[in-house]
């Protein structure tokens, strides 16, 4: 009997290599920023390296769909790319998850366009 319970990933099949980072498929800014603060630099570096290697193909893939009517797997890929933007600062600038010299300062997002 064929195995009907084939496991499908969160992401489009073309991006199965990024599936192991699918816990970064987060729809909102507080979730993405929170995960950044709770991640190690090593975890983010691995995600950043893998994501940056595929970002051009990811944008080509996503641009096939209207922004407001993406299939679920494309939406997950979009959220993953948004997280990539979030981790780019620790990796490219700060060498730490937090913004340096930001101390107790906290900025809450009160309105955002969620894909």
């Amino acid at each position: 009997m064929p195995d009907t319970a084939t496991k499908t990933g969160t992401l489009p099949a073309e991006f199965a290599d990024l599936e192991k980072f699918s816990d970064w498929c987060l729809a909102t800014e507080p979730e993405r920023y929170g995960k950044r603060l709770n991640s190690t630099m090593a975890q983010m570096q691995e995600f950043y390296d893998a994501g940056m290697a595929r970002i051009d193909e990811a944008m080509d893939y996503l641009d096939q769909f209207p922004l407001k009517a993406m299939p679920e797997d494309a939406k997950a890929l979009m959220h993953l790319m948004q997280s990539l933007v979030t981790v780019s600062f620790p990796i490219e600038c700060w060498k730490q998850p937090r913004v340096p010299d930001s101390g107790a300062a906290w900025l809450t997002i009160t309105k955002e366009p969620v894909v």
Binding site: E29, M52, I55, D56, M59, L62, D63, F65, L67, M70, M78, M81, Q82, L84, V85, T86, S88, F89, E92, C93, W94, V99, P100, D101, S102, G103, A104, A105, W106, L107, T108, I109, T110, K111, E112, P113, V115
Partner: protein, 396 residues
């Protein structure tokens, strides 16, 4: 400069009366009220006010004090009376005894009306607050005798008319509680030459070193009555050389100055005469200070940013920032805007944290005189204007 105006509670009390109860205050954009019956509330602690801003059945935007005319309960709120709310409704109903008011402010229903004996409902409509609109920006004023909004905003605003603000409806808004006097945060954003120092690690190392070696100079400064503007160049949008920017910016064609590609809308070329007032070729951004607490930044690549500083005490305020873009058509456009928004937050966190340190030190009182350079003219102007308004009010 002397910062007694930012640490003395008695001075703050004067600002509350002389400035915030008599100046035009921006409370947001008309796009927040898309339909008839759309409303939002705004807590304006510095004027001891809570207001309702609502679009009536006639399409007119009005503002009212958020208080029921029966027993003084706050009229519009959910769960927590001090939290701002928004929505759409046909009428406002008081939670206390169900008095009802139309979206135009008339009292329409009184519970057990006959027991009030000939109550004249016309006399108990919601108490209006002056409300006028400039280019889609909604302003209120608690002074019924204040000059009209357009006169108050003057020629600086006139020069911006026609900018396609209404096309830029993709909004990211942020809020922060800041432990500093409201003027200090305006000071931080009213000059640009701190950027290569405070935000040194945000640029590539070569760029930061280059900037610090020759010093940053903005392009243009102007004072217009109580208001002012400073323009800066913006070589990063797009950069002359891709090596000047970070890898993610190279991928997404975006950064601090916004997405590099101009959106395809009317009104950006030519720009209204007040935008890029110095006419500089290398123009990147204009930063307009509308006294007292509203800033508008127009960026060369076709988007804008607003800042509001709502005082809550002499040494604290609520900071609000909103980024406005043309709605993206593609995922690529959307990610470019995402990068601009994320970059904004990284910068703002650094700026915000610096302020608390400033407030604490100037409050210590050990040092009372501080030299300002020429690029800091907007700061001097803000503090001087605020003091002058108090004098004017006291002499009137």
């Amino acid at each position: 400069m002397n910062y007694s105006d930012s640490i003395d509670p008695a001075h703050y009390a004067k600002e509350q009366e002389a400035i915030f109860k008599h100046s035009w205050l921006n409370v947001g954009r008309v796009e927040r009220l898309p339909k008839k019956g759309s409303y939002f509330t705004k807590e304006i602690a510095v004027a001891k006010a809570s207001i309702i801003v609502v679009k009536g059945k006639d399409g007119v935007v009005r503002a009212f004090h958020n208080i029921c005319r029966h027993r003084g309960n706050k009229l519009v709120w959910n769960d927590f009376p001090n939290e701002e709310v928004q929505g759409t409704c046909r009428q406002f109903t008081c939670k206390y005894h169900a008095w009802r008011f139309s979206t135009e402010g008339e009292l329409t229903f009184v519970q057990q009306e006959e027991e009030f004996f000939d109550l004249d409902k016309d006399k108990f409509g919601l108490k209006p607050v002056r409300c006028e609109i400039w280019e889609g920006f909604i302003f209120v004023n608690f002074d019924d005798k204040a000059e009209p909004l357009n006169d108050y905003l003057g020629p600086m605003a006139k020069g911006l008319e026609g900018y396609p603000f209404h096309e830029m409806s993709e909004v990211y808004s942020y809020k922060a509680e800041i432990n500093s006097n409201w003027k200090l945060f305006i000071d931080a954003f009213a000059e640009f030459y701190h950027a290569p120092v405070l935000h040194v690690n945000q640029a590539t190392r070569e760029e930061a070193e280059k900037l610090q070696s020759y010093g940053f100079e903005a392009l243009h400064y102007a004072l217009h009555g109580p208001h002012s503007v400073v323009s800066s160049w913006g070589g990063m949008s797009p950069p002359k050389d891709l090596n000047m920017v970070k890898p993610i910016e190279r991928k997404l064609h975006s950064g601090l100055f916004g997405p590099w590609d101009r959106p395809d809308i009317e009104g950006l070329d030519p720009l209204p005469p007040g935008v890029n007032p110095g006419g500089a070729k290398q123009w990147g951004v204009d930063s307009y200070v509308f006294f007292p607490n509203f800033m508008l930044l127009i960026w060369a690549p076709g988007w804008y940013l607003t800042y509001h500083y709502w005082p809550t005490s002499v040494s604290s305020h609520t900071f609000e920032a909103s980024l406005y873009f043309v709605p993206p058509k593609t995922a690529r456009d959307r990610l470019g805007q995402e990068l601009a928004a994320v970059t904004f937050k990284e910068y703002a966190l650094q700026d915000a944290n610096t302020l608390e340190a400033t407030q604490t030190m100037i409050s210590s009182g050990y040092v009372t005189e501080f030299p300002l350079n020429d690029q800091e003219i907007l700061l001097r102007h803000l503090h001087k204007t605020a003091r002058d308004k108090i004098k004017e009010y006291e002499n009137a």
